[in-house]
């Protein structure tokens, strides 16, 4: 039975990986936000299972903070934001989607390779998911740089933070609480600032297409 619970961690991590890929290929912003909520739920699930197995209570608190922040608060903020900004659809991504998928596979292979020697050294019960967490980080990073709309970039950034949180849980059974609180605070403030920003970008350019933001170049 214990191993079944341990397999739950693997399952949550795999769900996170699928959701990250789904986010890569999604065009509709609303679906992106829903997928991001699912992403957060997977992280919360994995952390709770680790907390249950290792009896570390501070992980319950971390999972709780992530739940409130990444699954409830931030998606609500994002929904309000896209309602006010009237953003529904995305334009095409900067690279077409099948190519993105193939590059994504390469990144996953790279991440797994990188994480394998490290994961063996970890003492955490979730150590095998370090590769998946690193792969999610790299995929979210790719999502940020290949997206044309500002909201999608923001979601990519948040997904990266989620994946880093999973990495922390899988590498070390969680960072100290103060650090995690600080990180959570930073993320929240960051989102608020980004929200403010998007309004200003909207005001200036009448659109949230970041290709308007490519004028400052070295000539």
């Amino acid at each position: 039975m214990n191993s079944l619970i341990a397999q739950l961690i693997n399952l949550f991590a795999s769900v996170m990986l699928i959701v990250t890929f789904a986010m890569l290929s999604q065009r509709r912003i609303l679906t992106l936000i829903h997928l991001f909520t699912l992403h957060g739920l997977a992280v919360v699930g994995a952390t709770t299972v680790v907390a249950y197995i290792t009896h570390q209570h501070h992980l319950y608190y971390s999972a709780g903070i992530t739940l409130v922040l990444k699954v409830i608060l931030i998606p609500v903020l994002l929904h309000k934001l896209i309602d006010r900004l009237n953003v529904r659809w995305d334009v095409e991504t900067l690279i077409n989607i099948p190519t993105l998928m193939l590059v994504g596979i390469l990144l996953v292979v790279f991440a797994f390779n990188l994480a394998l020697p490290i994961a063996e050294l970890s003492t955490s019960v979730a150590r095998s998911t370090l590769g998946i967490a690193l792969a999610c980080v790299l995929l979210s990073f790719m999502m940020m740089i290949t997206r044309a709309k500002a909201v999608a970039q923001v979601i990519g950034f948040l997904a990266m933070e989620n994946a880093l949180f999973l990495a922390a849980t899988s590498a070390t059974s969680g960072m100290p609480m103060v650090v995690e609180l600080g990180i959570a605070l930073d993320v929240l403030v960051g989102i608020l600032i980004l929200g403010v920003f998007m309004f200003q970008i909207r005001e200036q350019f009448d659109s949230l297409d970041i290709r308007h933001l490519e004028n400052l170049k070295d000539d």
């Binding site: 922390a168 070390t172 100290p176 990180i183």
Partner: protein
């Protein structure tokens, strides 16, 4: 220890106060007041350290040692002089309509918060809190860069946020890996992230984990230092933000980021016992110096040009710390101090010059010596100083770095000399017509304050001729600690 808490809380309280009253006319003076108070607290702390030696505070959560004491004082000093500079500068911006009182409120409070987060980053012993403070500093400066609300400044701030956000996330992953390595040796909990504890056991940290951790930490914090190829945010942020922000970005934030890299390098060197970290730093430092010099030569905007100069100098410092050894480390630390002082002085002069001309393009700025000697002489002397002209301090540090490079890494020396030469030619050629010549520029309604520029240049000059004994001791001790 109360002095340290006083030092850290003054800017934070100042930020809160200015968030309420920042749109009034007297807010600028209040800003100067808070910065001055911070500087006095820093001076008192320095005096305490001079007599007492390194200290740890609050159960080891904060500490002051030779590496960060001079940076703390430098940060407080530059913060203070920049606030003095920002007084007349912002009055002119307000008159020209580029700022509104509401945005002045944001500007002033974020300025104080920025100072506060940088001081926290410098004095914290906890590497996790260091990360949080760096991220917070990034967030405050993002708001500051976009404060003019022009399309270009929004673009610069967005790029800054995204690039530095990604970089900082890599640094977070590096911190996680570091915690993982520390967890094995020190056990979990808050103690495992304290730098002093880690430094004591650095040989026992697992090499595989530490090498990967250092790579991520270097990429992450290196983005904030402005190393090529992750430097794209730097020229835009400097050019589009208000000049006081360019001054503190160049003068202070880059230094704090490099300081973070150094702290991690010490741990990595101890764990890896090879020159992996040094090679990384040498490689990227050299790349930054050479690329920045060539980018520099093609710039039309004066603030972008000096931004690339900052990238070049940070690359030089990274290269110096990569070389290691007592001489190169000493030179790197000296250069950190001198560059910070002189670059901010240059930005003070450039800010006023751009205000007079109404444009940041160098071809529009002419004859500064005639219109306002402060600005003209400040720019002239500042440029000469940053280009490494003796007797200013940059000459001493660059000389030491070059001679060490010639001894240890002969193949790098021609590249360095080439880059420094290209930068010299470009900057000098651009600054000369700006300073001399006939002009139709009018003086500004609110005359610039000569104090900041000349204090900085004076200190830069002094450091070139004479390094005070306690500073010398701190440099040597820090150099020994950085090792390599």
């Amino acid at each position: 220890m109360e002095l340290l808490f006083l030092l850290l809380s003054i800017p934070l309280v100042g930020g809160l106060v200015l968030a309420v009253i920042g749109h009034h006319g007297y807010a600028r003076e209040v800003n100067v007041g808070f910065s001055l108070a911070t500087f006095l607290a820093a001076a008192a702390l320095t005096a305490r350290i001079m007599s007492g030696g390194p200290i740890t505070v609050a159960d080891g959560q904060f500490f002051i040692d030779p590496l960060n004491i001079f940076l703390v004082t430098l940060t407080a000093l530059v913060g203070c002089t920049t606030s003095i500079f920002s007084r007349p500068y912002m009055r002119v911006e307000l008159d020209h309509g580029k700022m509104t009182p509401m945005r002045m409120r944001l500007y002033h409070s974020m300025y104080q918060f920025f100072n506060g987060t940088m001081l926290i980053a410098l004095t914290t012993n906890n590497l996790g809190i260091l990360w949080v403070a760096m991220e917070a500093a990034t967030l405050t400066t993002v708001l500051l860069v976009s404060v003019y609300r022009t399309p270009a400044s929004l673009e610069a701030a967005w790029k800054y946020f995204i690039l530095c956000g990604v970089g900082i996330a890599q640094a977070l992953f590096g911190t996680i890996l570091l915690y993982m390595a520390a967890d094995k040796v020190l056990g979990g909990g808050m103690g495992a992230l304290l730098w002093t504890n880690l430094e004591a056991v650095k040989e026992q940290l697992n090499p595989t984990i530490m090498s990967l951790a250092f790579v991520f930490l270097f990429i992450g914090y290196g983005t904030k230092v402005g190393l090529v190829p992750l430097h794209n945010w730097l020229p835009d942020a400097h050019a589009e933000g208000p000049t006081p922000i360019s001054a503190v970005l160049s003068g202070l934030l880059l230094n704090v980021a490099l300081y973070a890299v150094l702290r991690c390098k010490v741990l990595a060197d101890g764990a890896l016992q090879n020159h992996f970290a040094s090679h990384l730093m040498i490689g990227f430092g050299l790349l930054s110096v050479v690329s920045a010099a060539f980018f520099l030569s093609r710039q039309q905007d004066v603030k972008r040009m000096f931004a690339y100069s900052s990238i070049e100098h940070m690359g030089l410092m990274t290269f110096a710390f990569g070389l290691g050894g007592p001489v190169a480390n000493f030179a790197g630390l000296l250069h950190m101090t001198v560059h910070s002082l002189i670059k901010s002085a240059i930005f003070f002069a450039v800010g006023h010059a751009a205000q007079k001309a109404g444009s940041q393009l160098m071809e529009d700025i002419r004859g500064l010596l005639k219109v306002n000697p402060t600005v003209g002489w400040g720019l002239m002397l500042g440029s000469l100083a940053i280009l490494g002209m003796p007797p200013f301090g940059a000459f001493a540090s660059e000389f030491l770095i070059l001679t060490t490079a010639m001894r240890e890494l002969p193949w790098a020396t021609p590249l360095l000399l080439l880059a420094l030469g290209v930068a010299f030619a470009s900057i000098f050629a651009r600054v000369q017509p700006m300073v001399f010549g006939a002009t139709e520029l009018k003086p500004l309604a609110h005359p610039p304050s000569p104090l900041p520029v000349f204090i900085h240049l004076g200190l830069g000059l002094m450091l070139g001729l004479y390094i005070p004994p306690y500073l010398d001791t701190w440099y040597r001790q820090a150099a020994a600690m950085i090792g390599g």
